[in-house]
Structure formats: structure tokens, C-alpha cells
Symmetry: none
Subunit: 198 residues, 4 copies
DNA sequence: CACTAAACGAGACGGTACGTCTCGTCTTGTG
DNA sequence: CACAAGACGAGACGTACCGTCTCGTTTAGTG
């Protein structure tokens, strides 16, 4: 038999750590998220944290995996493609106001400061999310222009769609001006229809 | 008499600190930029640093003031408005590869993690830069559409222009795909011409 | 029925633990004797050690029981009482050079630092050894002075005999200067003969 | 000029550390003397301790230097040499009941367990104390036998004098049986007079 | 040309968090 | 049910920086 003897990883400790990290980030900010504080709040030994995670970035990445995937999912049931796009942008903008969205924002910040954190974050989350954005926007555009777009063209359209929103959030820290959303949505559909992006 | 006696602030110490901070950021990353490291590298006492700056963010902000303002200036001498926009986007994209651009990127990162740093950064740099972007893009658009755009409309167009570029740099850490630049430039001019943004 | 079912205590595990403890003490010193190190070296689970011993002091006490009792036994076959005493002192001095003697020395050290260890050590080893010293020296003195000494008088003579040797070993860490042994032996016999110790 | 600039070592921090170490040793035993506990009790940063001492053994050695030297000094004013010896043995026996004596006992214990501690302890304290014992006993014997003893002979007599006392304290943990003291004192004078030790 | 007085280098100080180590207990299969 | 394996809560280890605080030394005016 391959399965080894002895105790297994404690699921309750794992959840306590993820919740503690999340709570501390919201309450005291990223600088307050120390391993000591997480351990104390979670009622867990530091060694238990170091056994399963290499850094606080890894812990926060794990909280994203639990929380963010569904919150950033594409939902395409609206009457028109334009409405679908507007809905998705609103959904993303609102996500950044929630605790899980603050985790995402903090990780985006840390990724600018620490190359290793950036690599993990991109490989462990952003890449996957980008693929889901490609698929989600691709399906909407197929409905709009009547045929499949090229992958590279869709990628540019994702940048045009998401870029202004992230720019406002990351650079100006604003909760996103609502009027920007219909402009961006309209524009992406126009560009797709005119075939400029290919 | 108002002028007091004794030595004045040492300009050589000031420059040594700014250079040391810059060098350490490039060599060892933001986490390596500690006051102790700056003091050691600059051959300066920690107290001298604390006398003139409140934090390492303030130091890095000072280095930006020296380096970034001209690098992010709008130059409008090209043959067409479209070329002007493309040139500016290339200039910004290239700036992020330089040491001073890495300082900007690090401060953008830190701004996601620390509200006080964010406030200082926005009040001390980003706001001013945004005004220059409004003015720069505004002038180009006036040449393109033949009349003055509204301030809010111009602001949206700045978001549409800069957003995709920042999105690629901050979210994906890419050196910016060059094809995105002409697409973005073209699109902003079209939107301006169609008056969608107002 | 008194005899219970299931496996009994593993004798091989017991011996592996005692040998491992002994080896580690000699190789890495008392501080290196950790339960983890013993378990690893003995190929035994920590729980197995804690099941049968309360502390590393108890383990070392067990190794003494196997090794030290015969090494500190009194042998009285020499030509004269004086020679018997000299032989015994040499035997004790040499014992402290051997692995088992290092265990004894370590436990004597630990007894100065930890009252509980001291209690166990004295009740579990030193008391018994002292009784054997009383008996051993008592018999030699009976041969020397021609009659039985009082118990208290013999006890003082044990102190006079062993004290200087232990003083050199424990206080100065010396391998005992050989000339001290005949002096001490001679002196104890003289004191006994003069009846000073009573 | 040789004297350097900047702040000097804080004497109050030094004393707080030594007192804290002493107090904790008495209250909680040697195992309770951790750097963390000393720092907490002394109201001092751990780094301050590590800056000036390499280990808790070094700290305890420093407390001895302040406390033990005078307590183990030879005082020779009594009516007879025998009384001088008895007084000194009583003084030493009582010293081991005091806090500083417990420090000495703990260091003697640690010296059995840790060769580096033993080396420091012997070079930093025991050697010096032994020289003072040689001088102190030497002077008394000169008065007793009427001429100077050889150094080696005096050394053996120190072993004979102090050995039984240390044997009782270190091996049996007893507060020393008082009757042993006059016996030992008498015996050393006799041996010296008979010239056995040479 | 002393005499202030502030800025400087050096670095000790009380703290906090780091990541590692070992403790003694508890949990999980295996023989 | 004893055993090997090893995860767990606990807490000390020694290190790195934090921001504050003395120290002399140096440097610019002022009287």
C-alpha cells in the first residue's frame, strides 16, 4: 500500500488559517497580516502554518481559490451582449469592494514588489482567470459578430474591456466611476464589429 | 534677523540617500529597501534620514519627482494625432523598464497595501500626473476633433487610453505587447470623434 | 486471569533507545540528547519513548543501571587496606573517562539544575551507590582498625575519601591528578585509626 | 582620540539583566532562565542582551563576578588556624544557600553538560577562585606549620579541604552536615604538619 | 575669532516579527 | 494494543529592522 500511516492534515487548522488571514487583511491591512498574527488569531502554531504554506502570499492565494473564482465568473444570460458586458464589469467592480476583492487587490500590489510573489500569483490565479475571461468574452462576441474571433484579437479586447476598470482601481483607488462601464462595453463591441482588433 | 545659525541641510546627504534608495530598489527589490540598508549604502546616519523623510515611501516619492516628471511628459510634435498617441504610449511603456519606472511600479504596488502610502502617492504624484495627462490628451483631441472636449469626457478617454497599458503591466507584468498600442490609440480617436464619451 | 492480550513491551525498542541515548551523549553532549534525536537514531517513534520513560533523565538513569553498578563496585582483594582504597579510587577515576562515566557526570550536572531530576537521580542511583560505598569502605576499615566503625563515622570517611576526587572532576574537570589518590587513601586510614571521625 | 562617538553602553540595562537573571534562577530554576524571560523581566530588548552576552551562561558568570568574589574571600582573623579553616568552610557552605551560591551551583552543573560553558566558567571564575584558595589556605598553613608550603602541596590540601564539602553539596544536595567541617579542618592541619602532602 | 546651535556619523536602546527548532501530546493506520 | 510515522499547539531560539534616543564632531552663521 502507498498510503502512509499517521495523522492527516487538519482541515480545521487549514480553514482557521485562511479565515484569520482574510479577517486580518480586512481589519488591519496587508502589513498587519503577519504569520504571528494569523497563528494567534487562528489558534494555531506558527509551525503548522510554515508546514503547509511558504509565505503569507501563499496563504492569501489559497483564500482566493476558495472565494474569487465564482465571484469573477462570467454570466451570460442577459438580453443583449452589451448588457452582458456591463453586468460583468459591474460584477468585477463590486467584487473589489468585498473582502475577497481586497485580497485580490493586495496580491496585485504585492506582485509589483516581489517577483516571486508575482510569479506564484500569475501562475496560480491570474493566468487561469485570464483564460476564463477569454472564454467568457469570446462567447459574448460570437453572439454579437456572428462568428468566432481569433484568440489574439479576443485577448486585445479583454485588455480594452478590463484595462480602464483596473486602471481606475489600481492607480486612483477609486470605486470605479459607473459611467465608464457603459462606454467601455459599447466600445469593445464596436471594435469587435469593425474588426479593428485583428 | 530670521536666518538662523549653524549648518544647513546637507545636499550631498540628500542625494546619497535618493541614489541609494533607487539603487537598492533595482538591485534587491522593494523589500530590500530598508532604512538601515539605505543609510549603510549612502554612508549616512539613520537619524539623518528620519530627520528629512517619514518613511521609505517618501524617499521613493522624492526620487520620482526628480526622474519621472519629464519621462511622462506629453510630446505632441508628430505628423498626426494618432502618431502622437502611439508615441506617448510607447514612451510610457518604455519608462516602466527603466529604474525610475520601477520606482513608479513599486509605489503603485505599495499603494495597494498601505492606505497612507496611497494617499501620499496620489496627492504627491498621481494627481499631478493625471492633470498633465488630461492636458496632453486634451490638446491632441482638440487638434483631432476640431473643438475642445469636456473635462469629464477627456477623463474617460484617458482611462481608455492608459487603462489597457497599465492593465498589462500591473496585472500580467508583461513589457506590453506592441500591437496593443496602435489599437488603443486608434480606438480613442474614434470614440472621441463619435462623441460616445460625452 | 492476569496476563493480558496483545503485544508486550518491545525489548528491542528498549535497548535501541538506551544505546541511542548513550551514543548521542558521548558524540554530541547532553544538550544533543533530545527525545527526537534518540527516536530518530533508535528507529523508534517518540510516543514509544514517552510511553515508557518520563524524560531523558529517566532514560539515562536506565543506562546507568545497566552499566555503572558493576563499574563502581568495591573489590577488596588487595594485599593491604591502603592498596584497596587506592585501587577503588583509581577505578572510580577511570570510570569517569568511560561512556557510562560521562552519563554519570551528566546526571550529576543535571541534578544541579533540575530538582526533580536530582530527586530521581538520588533516589534511583546515588543513594544505593552511597550504601555500597559505606559497606565497601566499612569492610576495609574493619580490617584496618580491627573493629566495626559506627555508621556516621564511616559516612564522614566516605566523604573524606571520595570528596577530593569528585571535587577535581566536577569543579576543575580534570582527569584527576594521580598523586592525590595515595594521599587521600593514606589520610582516611590515619583518621580512622586515630578515631577522629567519631 | 580613541574614544568613539555615539551612545555608551547602558549601565541600567546591564544591571537590570543581571538582576533579572539572578531572580529567575532562584524563582524558577536554571531551565527557567531563558533569554526571553530575562528580557521580559528586565524590561530590555533581546537584542540588547545578545549585543553584550553570548549566552545565559555568560550572564550568570557576570552575576558571579559581582556577588561571589567577596563571599568566597578568605578571612583570617580568628584565634587559631583551625578556627580560621572552620570559619571559611562555614562561610562557603552558607554561601551555597544564598542566591549567588545557587548561581555558582547552577554553573557547576552546566559545566558538566556543556564543554564551552565549562571552559568559560573555569577560565572566568574557578581558576581565579582557586588561586585565592591557594593563597588563603597557604597563609593559614604558614602560620600553622611555621614555614611556606610548596604550591603543589598546598593545592592537594585545598582539594582535601574543599572536596568533602563540595561532594556533599553537589552529589547529595545536602546543606552540608556541620560535623564534617571540624573533622575536615583538623585533618588538613594534621596532614600539613606531618608533611604527608609533600 | 571665539561662541553658539543645528546637522551630521555612529550606534545603543525597547520593540516586533521573522523562520527554525524541540517539546510533549494526539491521531492514524499497520502488524 | 504496541508500534512507526508524523501533525499538532506551544514557546524559545537568534536575527533583522523598526523608529527613538544619546553621543561627540563638524560646520556655518553671529557678536
Amino acid at each position: 500500500m502507498t498510503s502512509r500511516t499517521g495523522p492527516r492534515r487538519s482541515e480545521s487548522a487549514r480553514l482557521a488559517v485562511l479565515n484569520a488571514a482574510d479577517d486580518i487583511l480586512v481589519e488591519r491591512g496587508f502589513a498587519g497580516v503577519t504569520i504571528e498574527a494569523i497563528a494567534a488569531r487562528a489558534g494555531v502554531a506558527k509551525q503548522t502554518i510554515y508546514r503547509w504554506w511558504k509565505s503569507k502570499v501563499d496563504i492569501l492565494l489559497d483564500t482566493l481559490a476558495d472565494d474569487a473564482l465564482e465571484a469573477l465568473e462570467w454570466k451570460t444570460g442577459a438580453a443583449t451582449p452589451e448588457e452582458d458586458l456591463r453586468n460583468h464589469l459591474h460584477q468585477v467592480a463590486e467584487f473589489f469592494q468585498e473582502p475577497a476583492g481586497q485580497v485580490l487587490q493586495a496580491l496585485l500590489g504585492q506582485a509589483q514588489l516581489d517577483k516571486e510573489a508575482a510569479r506564484k500569483f500569475r501562475e496560480g490565479f491570474l493566468q487561469e482567470q485570464h483564460e476564463r475571461d477569454l472564454a467568457g468574452l469570446g462567447e459574448i462576441l460570437r453572439r454579437h459578430v456572428g462568428h468566432e474571433m481569433g484568440e489574439q484579437a479576443t485577448a486585445y479586447l479583454v485588455d480594452l474591456l478590463m484595462g480602464p476598470l483596473y486602471y481606475q482601481i489600481l492607480v486612483f483607488g477609486r470605486p470605479v466611476e459607473k459611467d465608464l462601464i457603459p462606454i467601455t462595453a459599447r466600445l469593445v463591441l464596436d471594435v469587435a464589429a469593425q474588426g479593428q482588433a485583428g
